[in-house]
């Protein structure tokens, strides 16, 4: 039975990815300058926190067989909202941050309402909110306004260190552990997986399909808001274009990490490995003299190639996906509930 090998295939995928990561580290340690220094490692972490946070919550969404294209735009909107609340509404930054988190979750809930309430394909709904959220951010700032001069205590979130580790790394670790537990150790993760394999099957099993989906998308919204806060703290400015293209980076990391775009299959540690593989590649290339000037481009190129190789190589999850596609009409973003 082909099903038999599924779990081992995922394990193998993650093992291979880990191997790739180790090879990257060894290679850059040998070929790069100052790659393995404490400062550089901190640097890698700092730069990958926002995309990492988005990837961590994109993973459950994709696990349910959905997708969320709006998280990058929502990051921008939340950054702007945070700035607005702090500067123009005069809230203390702590309160503004809390309010932003709430608004982010609300925006995720908006996606979820359209997806579950009207049974619309997630791809199209979040394509719409992708434009809407970014557009609202631009409208609020009139396209030009930028919020700056945040208090030191706030900037510490993005630039400071606690016990020698960048502040946002602590946040990232906390979120990572939480999401890992959620996906792998709670009934929420179990339900997401069941929904990803078979939304109808999950419904017939008495699982609260709608509530679980709402949770996944709200979590994505919440984390986009959190990423907006660390992003703003890292750069010291909040602008409408914050996080442009981050949704695709996050999806790339998740798929590279072995999560099937058709849902059901995947792991949070795989996603983390995906994030790390891309982050180390980008940073490492900037430490090697030969590639120093073109690190970003080369890393993008290699990531794209890696993605295709990972997909084509993981033929088995792909085959299962191909078979499932026949049962579930649209390739991505099928209406999530039993239409009967």
């Amino acid at each position: 039975m082909s099903f038999r090998f599924q779990k081992t295939a995922v394990l193998r995928h993650e093992t291979v990815l880990l191997l790739v990561l180790v090879l990257e580290v060894v290679f850059f340690q040998l070929a790069g300058r100052n790659f393995g220094t404490v400062d550089n490692v901190a640097n890698i972490v700092r730069h990958s926190v926002e995309i990492g946070l988005l990837a961590l919550v994109m993973m459950p969404v994709i696990l349910t067989g959905g997708i969320d294209l709006s998280v990058g735009s929502l990051l921008g909107l939340c950054a702007v909202l945070f700035g607005k609340l702090w500067r123009d509404a005069g809230l203390p930054w702590e309160l503004a941050a809390l309010a932003t988190l709430g608004l982010g979750a609300l925006a995720g809930g908006f996606n979820a309402a359209l997806i579950t309430g009207l049974r619309l394909p997630p791809l199209i709904v979040t394509l719409g909110t992708y434009s809407l959220f970014r557009g609202l951010a631009e409208a609020i700032t009139h396209g030009t306004d930028a919020f700056t001069r945040f208090p030191e205590r706030f900037l510490f979130l993005g630039t400071g260190r606690i016990a020698g580790v960048p502040t946002q790394a602590w946040i990232f670790v906390a979120v990572g552990v939480a999401v890992w537990l959620l996906v792998h150790r709670t009934t929420f993760g179990r339900s997401w997986r069941a929904i990803g394999f078979s939304p109808e099957g999950a419904r017939y099993a008495g699982l609260p399909v709608t509530r679980r989906l709402v949770l996944a998308y709200m979590l994505a919204g919440l984390m986009a808001a959190l990423a907006a806060i660390t992003y703003t703290a890292r750069f010291g400015t909040a602008k409408a274009d914050a996080g442009t293209g981050y949704e695709l980076a996050a999806i790339t990391a998740v798929v590279l990490g072995g999560t099937s775009i058709f849902g059901g299959v995947g792991s949070v540690h795989g996603t983390l490995l995906g994030v790390a593989a891309i982050a180390v590649l980008t940073n490492g290339l900037s430490r090697v003299p030969a590639t120093m000037s073109n690190a970003a481009e080369l890393s993008g190129l290699l990531t794209g190639a890696l993605l295709i190789v990972a997909l084509a190589g993981g033929a088995l999850p792909g085959r299962i996906g191909a078979r499932r596609r026949k049962e579930h009409p649209p390739a991505v973003g099928a209406p999530v509930s039993d239409p009967a």
Partner: protein, 309 residues
């Protein structure tokens, strides 16, 4: 009427917008600025038509923006190297077709999900281009802009090309067997196979066609300015998909037509200038575009629920 409800409603919305413009901002219809706007938008329409084909066959392609940039640059470099313009055009279209074939092969032959395949090729084309070009603009020699013709004539050619592509594809989709095969494959690939159609071949072909159209659109865009921006085509895929979706093509495949795509495209394209004319600040542009997309899909969802009862 019932079957083409979506096309009618989008056209209705477009007409409403145009009428309100005619009343509140008659300046909008002055020929020269109108022609300029249409010309600037024409390449997007060509890409949107190609995307419509892909979505009709129940796939998606988000790599067109990057491919568009690669084609633009290549054509620009060839033109700058004093090769004749037709050669540059052919090269651009050919390169586009090759790019499309790459996506098509990965999707149709290896059966990988198109969203992820084109996400990967999107990143690869874009980064490859940045690597090769390092963000340097390409200056085009004389005789390239507007095909070396007076501006009005050049604009006429660009708009005419878009129109020809639109009509030809609309004709093929409606009246050629192969066009109907696209619908059949998008509607139910298994039923298509039983009817003797080869779904994977159709999918492959549709991707190639989209690539070629992207190459053509790149040239149509290229001739409008004296230089080529290597970061051109950003967000093109999303704008094109938005036009297609607003125009009533279902992402579940097999449903929609190019008339709707044209209406959806014009609706989205007219919003920006309409906003300026109607004295809405341009920074609302994107939010309103997003709202229009959501409105279109929500209307679909509500309508479907009603029909199901």
């Amino acid at each position: 009427m019932k079957r083409h409800f979506r096309e009618f409603s989008v056209t209705g919305a477009l007409l409403l917008l145009l009428v309100s413009l005619a009343i509140f901002a008659p300046n909008f219809f002055e020929p020269q600025p109108l022609l300029s706007r249409l010309t600037a938008a024409a390449p997007k329409l060509v890409v949107a038509c190609g995307i419509a084909l892909v979505i009709l066959s129940r796939q998606i392609d988000i790599s067109v923006g990057s491919l568009f940039a690669v084609c633009s640059l290549s054509a620009g470099l060839l033109a700058a190297a004093k090769l004749s313009l037709p050669v540059a055009v052919l090269a651009s279209v050919g390169l586009g077709a090759v790019g499309g074939a790459l996506n098509g092969a990965l999707v149709a032959v290896l059966r990988l999900p198109s969203i992820v395949v084109t996400l990967a090729t999107m990143v690869m084309w874009r980064e490859g281009l940045r690597l090769a070009q390092q963000g340097v603009f390409v200056n085009l020699p004389d005789g390239v802009q507007w095909f070396g013709l007076p501006m009005a004539a050049g604009q006429g050619i660009v708009c005419g090309l878009a129109l020809v592509v639109l009509l030809a594809l609309a004709y093929a989709l409606r009246f050629l067997a192969v066009g109907r095969f696209v619908y059949a494959v998008g509607s139910d690939a298994e039923a298509a196979r039983l009817a003797g159609i080869r779904p994977r071949l159709v999918t492959f072909g549709v991707f190639i066609l989209l690539g070629a159209l992207t190459g053509l659109a790149a040239v149509m865009n290229l001739v409008q300015s004296p230089q080529v921006d290597p970061s051109t085509g950003r967000m093109l895929e999303l704008e094109a998909i938005a036009a297609v979706v607003v125009g009533g093509v279902a992402v579940s495949g097999g449903r929609g037509n190019l008339w709707g795509v044209l209406a959806g495209f014009l609706l989205l394209a007219c919003i920006t200038p309409a906003l300026t004319y109607l004295d809405v600040k341009p920074y609302w542009d994107k939010a309103i575009q997003g709202a229009v997309i959501l409105l279109a899909v929500v209307a679909d969802g509500v309508r479907r629920r009603k029909l199901n009862r």
